[in-house]
């Protein structure tokens, strides 16, 4: 059971720095990305400004990603992302039941946050998919669009730029979906805002 009396120091400074910057950059990239995709300045940002902001934010996001990647490779924080395969599907089902039914019955969380278990199985799965795979795709395809000469010329008669573009859009869209869901699930703390406070002060 959760120990409500002793706040856990779960988010060291580098994680908070990385996470807040990552969140702001993702939001910026989504908004300017929509402007570029639909090139409609009346609903979002002026096209030329959107392109420049998107490029700069994209580069910053990529650099920030290096912090995340190396940080998790060389500090113990990486252990939270290691998926234990045995029984993982069953644990995800348990967590899914909690989110869809249990939470309404005010049942306790099946995988409460501890020093050794920061993420519940569904969080762990989605964070690994988004941060390790989708982010890599969005960054690589972004580099491809920024410097199109490095993309392959053609595959099956279609320009490599087309594939790169489609990959960037799809992975960007998945990040957008993740953002919506992630922000909503952040309201599942002790109070609606407590998780948002945690990522600022570091204590869960």
């Amino acid at each position: 059971m959760e120990n409500h009396n002793e706040p856990l120091y779960l988010y060291p400074v580098w994680i908070r720095f990385w996470h807040i910057l990552n969140a702001l950059l993702c939001l910026t990239l989504i908004i300017t990305g929509l402007s570029i995709q639909f090139s409609n300045p009346t609903i979002t940002v002026k096209f030329s400004a959107a392109v420049a902001i998107h490029n700069v934010a994209g580069v910053l996001l990529s650099l920030n990603y290096i912090i995340f990647f190396l940080g998790n490779l060389f500090t113990k924080n990486g252990a939270y992302y290691v998926i234990e395969v045995n029984g993982f599907f069953q644990r995800m089902k348990t967590q899914f039941y909690h989110y869809t039914m249990g939470v309404f019955k005010k049942e306790n969380a099946p995988f409460p946050v501890t020093e050794h278990l920061k993420f519940n199985p569904l969080q762990q799965f989605s964070y690994v998919v988004i941060m390790y795979f989708v982010m890599t795709l969005v960054i690589l395809s972004g580099i491809g669009l920024l410097y199109p000469e490095i993309t392959i010329n053609s595959l099956l008669g279609i320009s490599g730029l087309d594939y790169t573009d489609l990959l960037h859009l799809t992975s960007g869209f998945l990040v957008t979906l993740f953002m919506c869901i992630h922000i909503y699930f952040c309201t599942f703390g002790k109070t609606t805002l407590s998780n948002f406070k945690s990522i600022i002060n570091g204590y869960h």
């Binding site: 392109v51 395969v85 690589l140 730029l161 859009l169 909503y184």
Partner: protein
């Protein structure tokens, strides 16, 4: 004891990245010829040296008069030297001729040997002139230039259809100055200007325009008033991009279409299906870097693949998925709020 299998995502990503880098390297290597860059075999203006052209001595006999705006001859009756002006159309620009593709020919390879005597006989005006296919048709050496295809496209073009025999290759391509351009010139701006000047040669010059038609010459600027950023388009786009049917594989399209078939929709070029967009985008990025430097040109440019991904089906699907997600979140939130009270 049960075996405990763990997935360490950081290492998985590193391995996948390595595989990707190898696959990309292989793909780039096998694609390296895809751009099909052709070598420039042309002599440049700087290297102009008359002695290296095998027929320059014979040709200079003609260019003595036809290579300048005036000529002189001795009148055998009055024994006086007479100075005359050369008709503009009969002047061959020496500098341009000696860098043109036909620079190695003798004038009399195409024109009558009788031009060797002066004054020229009046009958020589009636000589029939060769056209491109007379020399280039059916020749393996010129197969890659697709002269036959150019000819059939030209025959179907509005120029040929409306003016039949009057409109020949020479209307656009001066045989004395013609120099292969689109295939060899790496400066795209120069190619665009070169090609557009071919059109403007008649379409902005009433005296030439009137040779073929009694119609009043349209004002190109007024006719294109509907075009956004007209000046930018005129500098950066060839006339034939919109006025010729680009359905074939010719580098330079010759099927000039009637004006009602001209491209008028922005998305024809600024959209996914544009045959131009990928190469234009790559070119633009390189130009930006060249002009504004690596940082500013690459990151702060306005270049983006606008529209190519404007696939309506994908837009609808993604909007549906996003709406569904938000709907589920809202429903969940509402039930949560209700249950908490």
């Amino acid at each position: 004891m049960m075996y405990r299998a763990n997935i360490r995502p950081a290492w998985v990503v590193l391995v996948l990245l390595l595989c990707f880098a190898i696959a990309w390297g292989l793909a780039k290597t096998s694609n390296s010829d895809g751009t099909g860059k052709l070598t420039d075999k042309q002599a440049s203006h700087e290297n102009l040296d008359l002695t290296k052209f095998k027929n320059s001595e014979a040709n200079e006999q003609c260019l003595k008069c036809h290579g300048q705006s005036k000529y002189a001859y001795e009148n055998p009756e009055s024994q006086k030297i007479v100075h005359k002006r050369m008709y503009t159309e009969l002047i061959i620009k020496r500098d341009e001729f000696y860098v043109s593709n036909h620079r190695g020919f003798k004038c009399t390879d195409c024109h009558s040997e009788d031009y060797g005597t002066f004054p020229h006989s009046g009958n020589l005006r009636m000589e029939s002139k060769a056209n491109c296919l007379d020399c280039h048709g059916g020749d393996e050496k010129y197969a890659k230039f697709q002269f036959e295809k150019i000819d059939s496209n030209f025959m179907a073009s509005v120029h040929s259809q409306k003016h039949s025999q009057d409109f020949t290759c020479w209307m656009c391509h001066n045989p004395h100055t013609y120099k292969i351009n689109a295939r060899t010139n790496e400066n795209l701006k120069e190619t665009i200007t070169y090609d557009n000047l071919i059109c403007l040669n008649c379409h902005s010059d009433i005296t030439k325009y009137e040779l073929l038609t009694d119609k009043q010459k349209p004002n190109i600027l007024v006719k294109h008033e509907w075009l956004p950023n007209q000046a930018v388009h005129f500098i950066n786009v060839r006339c034939i991009e919109c006025h010729a049917l680009n359905k074939d594989t010719l580098i330079v399209a010759h099927l000039i279409a009637p004006k009602n078939l001209a491209v008028k929709k922005c998305e024809s070029c600024h959209a996914k299906n544009s045959i131009l967009y990928a190469s234009l985008f790559k070119y633009q990025v390189q130009e930006n870097i060249k002009k504004q430097g690596w940082f500013k040109g690459l990151f702060l440019s306005e270049t983006a693949t606008i529209g190519p991904d404007q696939n309506n089906t994908l837009n609808v699907i993604s909007l549906a998925i996003l709406s569904f997600t938000i709907l589920v979140i809202l429903t969940h939130a509402i039930i949560r709020i209700q249950k908490s009270h």
